[in-house]
Symmetry: C2
Subunit: 221 residues, 2 copies
Amino acid sequence: MRRHPSKQQIKVAADAAIFTVIGGRLQILLIRMKKRPFTGRWALPGGLLGDRDTARSAVCRILEEQAGMTSCYFLEQLAAFDTPARDPLGRVVSIGHFALVPPTDFRLRTTPKYSDVRWWRADRLPPLAYDHKAQAAAALARLRSELGRSNIAWSVLPRAFTLAQAQSVYEAILGRTLDKRNFRKKFLALGLAAPLGRKSSGAHRPAALYRFRSRRAAGSL
Amino acid sequence: MRRHPSKQQIKVAADAAIFTVIGGRLQILLIRMKKRPFTGRWALPGGLLGDRDTARSAVCRILEEQAGMTSCYFLEQLAAFDTPARDPLGRVVSIGHFALVPPTDFRLRTTPKYSDVRWWRADRLPPLAYDHKAQAAAALARLRSELGRSNIAWSVLPRAFTLAQAQSVYEAILGRTLDKRNFRKKFLALGLAAPLGRKSSGAHRPAALYRFRSRRAAGSL
């Protein structure tokens, strides 16, 4: 087989900004690095592609190894990050990914490769390795943008949810409180949720329940 | 300097799906390849990254060389395309880009590297090299999606335009006719355009003119 004649020395990696909502706060998954030059620094999970990997399969494998992830259906590509100096060990283009997931899809445990893995509040991140601060910011911007036009929040809501529950998740992701009446109007106007009935809660008028019409993650290419 | 120990053999390329509107039709820029294994096949402009290139700078350089492009301000990243078999000469990850541009930003001429370069109707594409059919389809989907929430059409409209002109461009990009009243209502509801006055056109009531509030391309990360 004729090969590409180029002497190009660029490697390809994949990273992932994985978000969830715990305790009414948006959280992001970080691992703590052992190897130089980022010893002790926190980073997004990621790594170089193997010969048979696509960027997506690399991220799924790495998330399973590094964070005990049990499913990968939710992952979307974010963008390629290619600033020449982003990795001090040589030229690496990273294909960034992002997802909003239920925290129960992960079984966090420390592996030999990293000294720690945990959820961090997205608004209180420590210094990050590589260009991961920029990747996390781009992923958060994309997540917030998707929120206004897709059902991406389905994974962090129960199958049948009240509008108060939806509002709480939207507030966690947007990082600000929302006006109750405005939220309800706009959320229902998106046409993504259908009414399900009412939830009995004792003496008071029960809260209306909704479900997303589709549970498939939207917003992919 | 310690280097990445990986023996990874993946090269990095960048491609571009460049759209314009000519004669009320959406068009896409294609070059015709000389080199094997795609001799005679049409393709999106693109190529491997040089050592000092970012994906964006590579695309801008290639578009200038291959299609006489005079400006690059409009270019947005689309996605990374990484199907392992997308290039028969070896593993290449391509960072796809897209743009909607005025045709006057190009001076098409045949260069030694390619046997032809021209605009093609986006709904009548010839067979394309590599995975460029999928890249063109993804770029078109993104362009149509941007159209409903950004001012991306500004580059193919005059600075002062009538709603009839805007509708014609939207119809070209969406590939279908739109109801006049609905289009006007939705277009103005986007809040992207501001009224400018009226265009005198003889005996009849002149058509209202609009301009985009911003000429900056939206939708980037």
